[in-house]
């Protein structure tokens, strides 16, 4: 466990490869995706379409929509997704949804 990372992980779990925003990561299989990305040191999940401000998980219970990511072309809440092998995660709309 890396003490430089912002979160302490109490337990180790078998990990599977995923890709987030072009970067290969190993995340615990079956874990909550938002939590797993945070634990892996992902600090910013997306930029807002209004001002381009960075955002990351806020409520972890499916209510705030700050942890949005894109999976298979659909923008979803990372905190409502479980980690599976080979998950390809992008920023919403590939991150190219700048301020309109």
């Amino acid at each position: 466990m890396n003490p430089a990372l912002p979160f302490l992980e109490l337990e180790a779990a078998p990990r599977v490869p995923v890709i987030f925003d072009g970067t290969a990561l190993e995340l615990p299989e079956g874990a909550n995706l938002a939590a797993a990305l945070l634990a892996a040191g992902v600090g910013v999940f997306r930029q807002t379409p209004v001002s381009g401000a960075p955002r990351a998980p806020f409520c972890m219970m499916g209510a705030c929509f700050d942890c949005l990511v894109e999976i298979d072309g659909v923008v979803r809440q990372a905190c409502m997704v479980e980690v599976t092998v080979g998950l390809e995660i992008r920023k919403p709309h590939g991150g190219d949804l700048g301020p309109v």
Partner: protein, 469 residues
């Protein structure tokens, strides 16, 4: 379309207890919940938590397994991962599961949708690294994660619980920035007599504080002028306490100043809500069984007014008794007889609330934020903009929404609604009830157009897509 006697939304303590009770009286019950496992937020993932994580979380949490175990017994169809996005007359429920739309029908609905963290708009609260204290709890319960360098900010017992859990895990918070004052505690003392009936809450609180004190976690009280600093993410919390300016560097900020009923589903059904001054939030108007003013709609648990997990359990069972009686499965006499112990247990659970609500009031500067503070996270609308809308004649949040987009984003006002009502009420000199709240409409949660379109004409057969547990 499958038809049930009762559809329950939310598999937290209220929903689980109600499902069991109703099924025990012979009702066909369906329980829908967004999560993959029963428990709600309070008992999130309780069935998978063992060992150290369970020890850290404590017995109040692991006790939830009692409810999930009973849920697995006969009679309740529990549809997991079901995001309910519309409840229409009849009742017809539309939901999404694994990327597909489905529907079911029910004679009655029980909304057990729980609570949301009270919105806490402070400067910098949208920065990555800032989360609700509830989020911190969920990270621990579901994923065994604890923030290493965290500052806890706000007021209320949950802050002490999470701080104590962090102490137990060996990563105590860097500091607790608390906003309650001695005057709040003095005011609360007049409720102490009533609270004695809820002594177990007070005893637990004292125990948590002792753990925090032993670990020498710095506590700053009566904090004001709170702001979160950071370029691109949270780097420090700034505030003033007892006349001294403070700045504490950190990686994570956990915010909390109470929870409020999640009223989205109830409002979408047209249930009347009233402002509750004692809890500084809107709550649905309910009879003593949890019945709302829309026939066939019941509400139990924190969604009906904040009472906590145990109170939710009792309220869920009370609602189930009434529903069983309505469905002809219980006589009135039987219903009332069974309700007696539940009512006294419920009243015991609620006894400490007035004391706690008064001792730990919401953070004043988050109820009426500075003009520059963002209050709508989705559309990035600042408090001053809402005050400007009032000057343009906006009496309520729906007009303000049209003018400035607050509440139009994907969270659909969950984290700005109470703030917008408060700002408009203050600016217009009207009460929260006169000011009102957002008109909540389907979809209660976003749904893809593809899922919606697939439901055209032929109502999909829900049975083939469900994985009942």
């Amino acid at each position: 379309m499958d038809r049930f006697d009762l559809a329950i939304i939310g598999a937290g303590p209220a929903g689980m207890a109600a499902a069991r009770e109703a099924a025990d009286h012979g009702l066909r019950v369906v329980l829908l919940d967004e999560q993959a496992r029963a428990g709600g937020q309070i008992y999130r993932d309780v069935d998978r938590v063992t060992g150290l994580r369970g020890d850290i979380l404590g017995a109040d949490y692991t006790d939830g397994a009692r409810l999930t175990a009973r849920l697995r017994a006969e009679g309740v169809r529990h549809i997991i991962g079901a995001v309910v996005w519309a409840i229409e007359e009849g009742f017809r429920l539309s939901y999404t599961r694994e990327g597909r739309g489905a529907q079911l029908a029910a004679d009655r609905v029980l909304l057990a949708t729980g609570a949301l963290e009270r919105p806490m708009p402070l400067p910098g609260w949208t920065l990555p690294g800032v989360m609700t204290a509830g989020a911190g709890q969920i990270l621990l319960k579901q994923s065994g994660l604890l923030a290493r360098r965290a500052v806890l900010v706000g007021s209320g017992p949950l802050l002490y619980l999470i701080a104590a859990q962090m102490v137990r895990a060996g990563v105590p918070p860097l500091a607790m920035v608390e906003t309650q004052t001695r005057a709040d505690m003095a005011r609360a003392m007049r409720h102490l007599g009533g609270a004695v009936r809820g002594w177990s809450y007070l005893a637990k609180g004292i125990g948590l504080l002792a753990e925090i004190t032993r670990a020498r976690v710095p506590r700053y009280r009566a904090a004001t002028g709170i702001a979160i600093d950071g370029e691109g993410r949270a780097e420090a919390v700034r505030f003033t306490s007892r006349g001294r300016a403070q700045r504490i560097a950190c990686d994570t900020v956990l915010l909390h100043h109470g929870v409020v009923p999640n009223t989205q589903a109830a409002r979408s059904l047209g249930v009347t809500h009233r402002w509750r001054a004692d809890q500084a939030c809107f709550a649905p108007v309910l009879d003593t069984w949890g019945g709302a003013d829309v026939p066939g709609v019941f509400i139990a648990g924190d969604g009906g007014g904040i009472g906590g997990a145990k109170a939710a359990e009792h309220a869920g069972r009370l609602a189930a008794l009434r529903i069983a009686e309505c469905a002809g499965r219980l006589t009135e006499a039987d219903r009332d007889r069974r309700a007696v112990p539940l009512r006294s247990a419920l009243s015991r659970e609620l006894a400490a609330r007035p004391f706690l609500d008064t001792a730990y009031p919401p953070v004043a500067e988050a109820l009426s934020p500075a003009d520059a503070t963002i209050i709508c996270r989705c559309e990035e609308v600042a408090a001053g903009t809402i005050r400007g809308h009032a000057k343009l004649g906006c009496l309520g949040p729906n007009q303000a929404k049209a003018f400035g987009r607050a509440g139009m984003g994907p969270c659909q006002g969950r984290y700005c609604g109470l703030t917008v009502t408060a700002l408009l009420a203050e600016a217009n000199g009207r009460s929260p009830d006169e000011t009102g709240y957002y008109r909540i409409r389907p979809p209660l949660k976003p749904v893809t157009l593809g899922e919606l379109a697939a439901m055209e004409d032929t109502a999909p057969d829900s049975a083939e897509q469900e994985r009942a547990t």
